[in-house]
Symmetry: C2
Subunit: 631 residues, 2 copies
Amino acid sequence: MQRKQNIIPLSNVKINGGFLADIQNLIASEVLPYQWAALNDEIPDAQPSHSIHNLEIAAGRSTGEFYGEVFQDSDLAKWLEAACYCMIIKPDDALQQKIDFAVELIADAQMDDGYLNTYFSVMAPEKRWTDLQECHEMYCVGHFMEAAVAHYQATGSHRMLDIMERAFDQMASVIGPEEGKIHGYPGHPEIELALMRMYEVTGKEKYAAYADYLMDVRGKQPFFYDEEQQTRGYIKYPENIPFGRKYTQSHMPVVDQVEAAGHAVRALYLFSGVLDAAAHYDHSDLLHTMNAVYEDITTKKMFITGGVGSTHVGEAFTSAYDLPNALTYNETCASIALGMFSDRLCRLYGQAKYADVLERVLYNGIISSMSMDGKRFFYVNPLQVNPAIQNNNPDYNHVKTERQQWFGCACCPPNVARYYMSVGDKLYTSCEDTLFVNLYAQSEVCWDSNKLALHTNYPADGNIRIACECAKPCKVCLRIPDWCENYTLSGTADALSESGYLEVELLEGTHTFELHLEMKPKRIWSNTLVSADAGRVALQYGPIVYCIESADNGDRIDELCILHDSDINIIENGFAWGLPELEVNGVREHLSGPLYCAKPPTQVPVKLRLVPYFAWGNRGKGEMSVWIRER
Amino acid sequence: MQRKQNIIPLSNVKINGGFLADIQNLIASEVLPYQWAALNDEIPDAQPSHSIHNLEIAAGRSTGEFYGEVFQDSDLAKWLEAACYCMIIKPDDALQQKIDFAVELIADAQMDDGYLNTYFSVMAPEKRWTDLQECHEMYCVGHFMEAAVAHYQATGSHRMLDIMERAFDQMASVIGPEEGKIHGYPGHPEIELALMRMYEVTGKEKYAAYADYLMDVRGKQPFFYDEEQQTRGYIKYPENIPFGRKYTQSHMPVVDQVEAAGHAVRALYLFSGVLDAAAHYDHSDLLHTMNAVYEDITTKKMFITGGVGSTHVGEAFTSAYDLPNALTYNETCASIALGMFSDRLCRLYGQAKYADVLERVLYNGIISSMSMDGKRFFYVNPLQVNPAIQNNNPDYNHVKTERQQWFGCACCPPNVARYYMSVGDKLYTSCEDTLFVNLYAQSEVCWDSNKLALHTNYPADGNIRIACECAKPCKVCLRIPDWCENYTLSGTADALSESGYLEVELLEGTHTFELHLEMKPKRIWSNTLVSADAGRVALQYGPIVYCIESADNGDRIDELCILHDSDINIIENGFAWGLPELEVNGVREHLSGPLYCAKPPTQVPVKLRLVPYFAWGNRGKGEMSVWIRER
């Protein structure tokens, strides 16, 4: 069933209205400037970043000590990547100047031999490449490579690609399969997918081959990190890393990793890169493994919001169906990484089910991390919040009940920025004359000499008008989302394919047709192996998962139940970027006085108001829950 | 309303049948020998204790290094206390020999100046009394004092009392209110209540005065532990003790501590001792505080089982109504300490409500910690267990889903032994000619020249036959438990008093009468501020809280619901010491296949079988839940 599709580059896709355009406008106007200020330590009262100052020290432009996490460089790298995408879709002179400044700063911070990592170049150049397990050098190189690809795509300049080729060559001269080199691999994967992107834009096989090497060597015995610790003679990080070798996905060869384990972001970045490299080299066994682990994640370990990583301990996957709504970690970056893994699978296999997950993270578990003013962020994305409990119980120390200005470890905020600024290249894919419409957004796209314009308010409603100008005969394949039970298409199409797409054949000329995806609010239940959701229901409208908040429903929201036979009303034009809100009949069960009592709670009829999950916490402090009791 | 009652000593109470006798027999025949073997490191595959070996090293009878926690001595102290109670109620030569051995070992381990703590005498005698915050010297002295009191009560010998008087005098020569002494107090309270017990048996005011000093100095500014750390020059324990000063109840003067905070066992031992000392010295403000903090605990922070301490982080209290059934800590010792606090309040105020809590911990949250063969123990007592989830998620590392042979920190198992072996002195209290029957158990008691025999299967049923031989006119006050809505008494009594007792006046002579406490299974609901129990119900029969287990109901117990209108049937003679089991109609809701689905679960009628909570986990591995979904 492999049917590899091509990315349609951002320059050929224009998102020109609706929800995703609103988010991109927010990122361009507010988020990128705010994050630039944060990276320059100019946000009052925020946790410092020092990311740019570290580079300035390494570049010899400033003095002082390195500050922050060993991977602090990657915060700037992700911002730069986001800024470059922004230059493609919304060119801006002021932003270009910041980009130019950043690129030359990186160039100056690079050591003479090509090495690029400010922690080691400032603090301990003699210890370079001695702690691949936890010091994130390859991780930072990977993020700079992704920035380089974006910079090339935005500007056509090879400046950043050249910087990263020098960094790569230095790294590959020290670490690699050849005799005399360190036969290591990164404790935090990321570079694998970055190498494949470098390969895609440069065509230089060495990048792909290196990704293949990293994939092959990982988790083999004798275990490299044991040897590395022995050689290094010290253990920088605690011996008791949770989950042991699983934490770094080094417990077994990648080809055997059919169950997701350990640090969720590491796992999903790894799987994304492995998928790209395995597809390139046609490693069918690895592709089989990647499909298996994806099934494991999306059918057993994923929250309805697309959140993954059920425990803060090791920021990690746990066991199947362990989906604790309040206690979970659900790092923003993990949902982003799940999106990356999903869109790669979607391109490779052309199956709508992958885009279903991509859509789930895009509209729920990632965007939840950013406030609607673009200036506050969640690192952790729970599905149930009760500040009175969580702010007073250290089991929930990882959960913030309000979005934060910045983080000492600030991987998530710039990751959100780069993800939404590049979402254009996930809407559509192509394969020869065929265009696949994977996600619906008001937009225009060019492929294979043809043009398509898609007019829609999606995800506010499911009405989609499509206009094509076909220079030659072609096909358009329209994904029918998993949440959609009924749809109509004006014009003719084949029956829905097994892959979940409606295929429309078009002759040369101009065509318009309409797709109506019936979008009505619906109740969703969890597999009953998910104890945490027992007796509870979630409401979803199209791809949007909803929640109840104190702001609309008062406190003590666990007193609230949805009546099982109530209709769900749509309230148009809610506060969350115009998406509808939902209203449903319920009861409030109340029992006060003693702690335990032989009399049941009283029941008072109430109307429950629900808002999109991603928008929770934008209207003051309070409780929130996605899964709501059902009576 | 203060109406101080007297303890009736164990020698005047004989428990001669029923549930509590079964437990005492088990402890005498199995638990004390097993724990003696554990303390001597003779249990194969169990975590080592070294408690006795540490004393042997300190006594110069053996060599080697101290091993274990700084409070390892207290494990033997608690065992010795339990063994002495056993000698009162079930004299046994072999046990007497162990007791004699232990007492002489302690005597030999005592340093020449009276100091008694093997950690410091073996490892660092020069550092004695330099870390009152975390090194538990006073805690261990306190437990040895309690053992001394029990030894005196059992044997009439002053040997242990003398040892502990020397230990006390040494301690009081170093620490105390006088100029030139350390103005400190223990990081782990316990000695306060032990001092009051020493005072009670010896009549020596110095013990009570010292307890009063410790209560008075605690939490005053400047904070002693800050000074102590400064003086010591090192911080043995992490700087980031969770909850800061609250962890040790040193955040404010005790008189201001109207909300329970920090380490639950420390808090409740403290409050128990404070209550005794405050009552002795008639500190009305402190008594007021102790009543307030008791209300805080029992109306906002106590599980239905009598478990307290909602987080493993700091083994601590959290905020009001934060009662997470699976994640909680509920240390066995904390429930024991809540029992101690409750029975002291009951004696002081003569209110049945305190005995209601005492009964709750006695039949639920304490005895749950011990397997029915007396050889396995829980440290943590959750109300919901799912091994598949909890054994694979490090958030639950503190939760063991099966009882353990022993613990590196083994405070709980011998605490259980001493608690149940001394329960006889909690059944009855007296005040002049009046006998208060606080707990019902098949037993005989003598007070004030009178005798009472109580015949009952309680808590298996609520039928209680009482026979009195009164040498002179007297009163018998019978507690009507909080769970009992209807009762009948043969013979005449005043109306139920505000304090919750039925007062029966008896003339000289022989009397028999019967009290029938209507005992029927009932549904219990939580205050709806307890989110964790929302939509759930617990079943209780008399004082016994029930649970569902996989052993009777299969796995996936969160699929199970109790039907709200079903009768609850009693199944006599269950596996748990003959207590009844319960049966109720329910449904199993099931939804398999996808993780999330727009179709509701199917419902299949089932019979649910419930067993006493304390007996869970005695029939193999599996899931368990006290709070059950209700439909």
